[in-house]
């Protein structure tokens, strides 16, 4: 059953059309990846889903409900979390405050504590750095914090925008491992990546986006073998 259905959306930035009719769906429990080159519209797709970008036409159904062009703070309440490109840690806030911001809509202190423990389960390092300022951590730690912060919302759908960006390959592997594990724990994941090879490796399904359009889709393992994709994105 699809948890997210994106039907034929078109999004404009100023006068420029960034998305020219994107169709994507994500089933519950899947890892779906969206690959494509810089500027192809990957991030815009995520932004359109979470409401950061204004969609002109189409429809976005989350858990069967229309969420298109709802304010961001409302869509996120429905159970989707969006980890933005470049991590976007609140740099002068402490790790703890960052995590608390993730749980902004929760007023139950105990619930917050419980969720925090779950996050620490995934990222033990964060527990040690609780009072440190977010901006002083390394890139990999920041990415973990960003994911941890999103997990504080207890999302059903986790959207990750280029989590491997600018990280050392070893860290990248760790991050992908964590993504896999989160999925195993029952979180549906929509992953946007430029690192197509690794993304397709862990994904159940994948979409290739080019110039604001989906040009290919299929199972992750199939796409990885596709020669066209090899030429365009795996080199």
């Amino acid at each position: 059953m699809p948890i997210l259905e994106v039907n034929n959306i078109e999004t404009f930035y100023g006068g420029i059309q960034a998305l020219k009719g994107i169709n994507v769906h994500v089933n519950e429990g899947e890892i779906v990846t969206l690959i494509g080159s810089n500027g192809a519209g990957k991030s815009t797709t995520l932004k359109s889903i979470s409401g950061l970008a204004k969609v002109k036409t189409g429809s976005i159904l989350f858990k069967g409900k229309e969420t298109m062009n709802k304010p961001v703070h409302e869509t996120t309440l429905l159970g989707m979390a969006h980890v933005p490109e470049g991590r976007k840690i609140f740099s002068t806030l402490t790790v703890k405050e960052n995590l608390l911001m993730g749980a902004f809509s929760v007023n139950n202190k105990q619930l917050i504590e419980e969720r925090m423990e779950i996050v620490f389960g995934h990222f033990p390092i964060l527990k040690k750095r609780l009072e440190q300022k977010g901006g002083t951590m390394s890139g990999g730690e920041q990415q973990m914090l960003a994911i941890g912060r999103a997990l504080m919302m207890e999302p059903e759908l986790l959207m990750l925008d280029e989590p491997s960006m600018g990280l050392a390959p070893i860290i990248v592997e760790q991050i992908f491992d964590i993504i896999k594990k989160l999925n195993e724990d029952g979180i549906t994941i929509l992953l946007v990546e430029q690192n197509a090879y690794q993304a397709l490796n862990i994904a159940h399904r994948g979409y290739v986006i080019r110039n604001g359009e989906i040009v290919l889709s299929g199972k992750g393992s199939e796409l990885i073998e596709n020669s066209e994709i090899r030429d365009a994105y795996l080199t």
């Binding site: 080159s37 810089n38 050392a168 390959p169 430029q194 690192n195 090879y197 690794q198 110039n211 080199t235």
Partner: protein, 258 residues
């Protein structure tokens, strides 16, 4: 002969080291690439060459003359021009005006010439305008000459930025991720333009780029930065097979395909 010599360049921001002892030589007339993961200090490196930042230590020499202590505009006058990672056009100005600003260094008219609208000023302006138009034609931007720069498409904005940088008639052109945001067709077009730049504009090119296909195709020499340090250099073939580079940047996944 090398056009740019960088020796032991180091930049520290407070406790953070952005570049550590980077040394590189860039051959005149060549196309050279700097690659590396995000945050490896590539853009900081560019910023030091162009005078936006002053290095903590080390030296930068253009044709044997040090650039240390010069302001960005003085560096530009010496003959280094650049584009920016996040496009920095003069959005409200027209396309051709953007290129004309690039020609600023070449225009000799003084205040008096402007006030009196001397014949020499008029002639100089006309020549500059024609020259600018020729550049636009070269980048296939001529149809948009009176358009506001901010109304161009992303790819066209990237090209305009390069055209504007070339308008300063640089000896060395620094391109910061010129293909970012371009679709494959545009990237191919750009690849051709950069390839021929040396011949047509008599300029050496140093570029930062993530598109490995483009980098491998056009670069004669490649430097790899990681954590602010140079970890490798060589021709594309050498870089492709360098284990350090694969570990730090290309990733084992990429190796299979590259």
């Amino acid at each position: 002969m090398s056009i740019l010599e960088v020796t032991n360049l180091t930049k520290k921001f407070g406790g953070l080291t952005a570049n550590q002892d980077v040394t590189m030589n860039i051959e005149a007339g060549s196309i050279t690439a700097v690659i590396g993961p995000n945050g490896a200090g590539k853009t900081t490196f560019f910023n030091m060459i162009t005078g936006v930042y002053q290095p903590t230590s080390g030296d930068i020499k253009l044709e044997g003359k040090s650039l240390l202590g010069l302001k960005p505009d003085e560096v530009a006058k010496r003959g280094i021009s650049r584009t920016f990672q996040n496009i920095r056009l003069f959005g409200e100005m027209s396309v051709i005006e953007n290129v004309l600003v690039g020609m600023h260094i070449g225009l000799k008219t003084g205040l008096l010439g402007i006030f009196l609208n001397l014949p020499t000023t008029k002639k100089e302006e006309l020549l500059a305008e024609k020259e600018a138009y020729r550049l636009l034609e070269h980048f296939e931007l001529a149809p948009f000459l009176n358009e506001k720069a901010c109304n161009l498409s992303y790819g066209a904005q990237r090209k305009l930025e390069i055209a504007r940088a070339l308008a300063t008639k640089p000896k060395l052109l620094l391109l910061d991720e010129p293909a970012a945001g371009m679709n494959p067709a545009e990237t191919r077009e750009l690849t051709e333009i950069i390839k021929n730049m040396g011949k047509e504009f008599n300029v050496s090119v140093l570029l930062i780029e993530h598109d490995m296909k483009l980098v491998m195709e056009i670069s004669e020499h490649i430097f790899v930065l990681d954590h602010g340090e140079k970890i490798a250099e060589g021709n594309p073939e050498e870089i492709r097979t360098n284990t350090k580079v694969i570990e730090a940047y290309l990733g084992s996944g990429a190796v299979q395909t590259v």
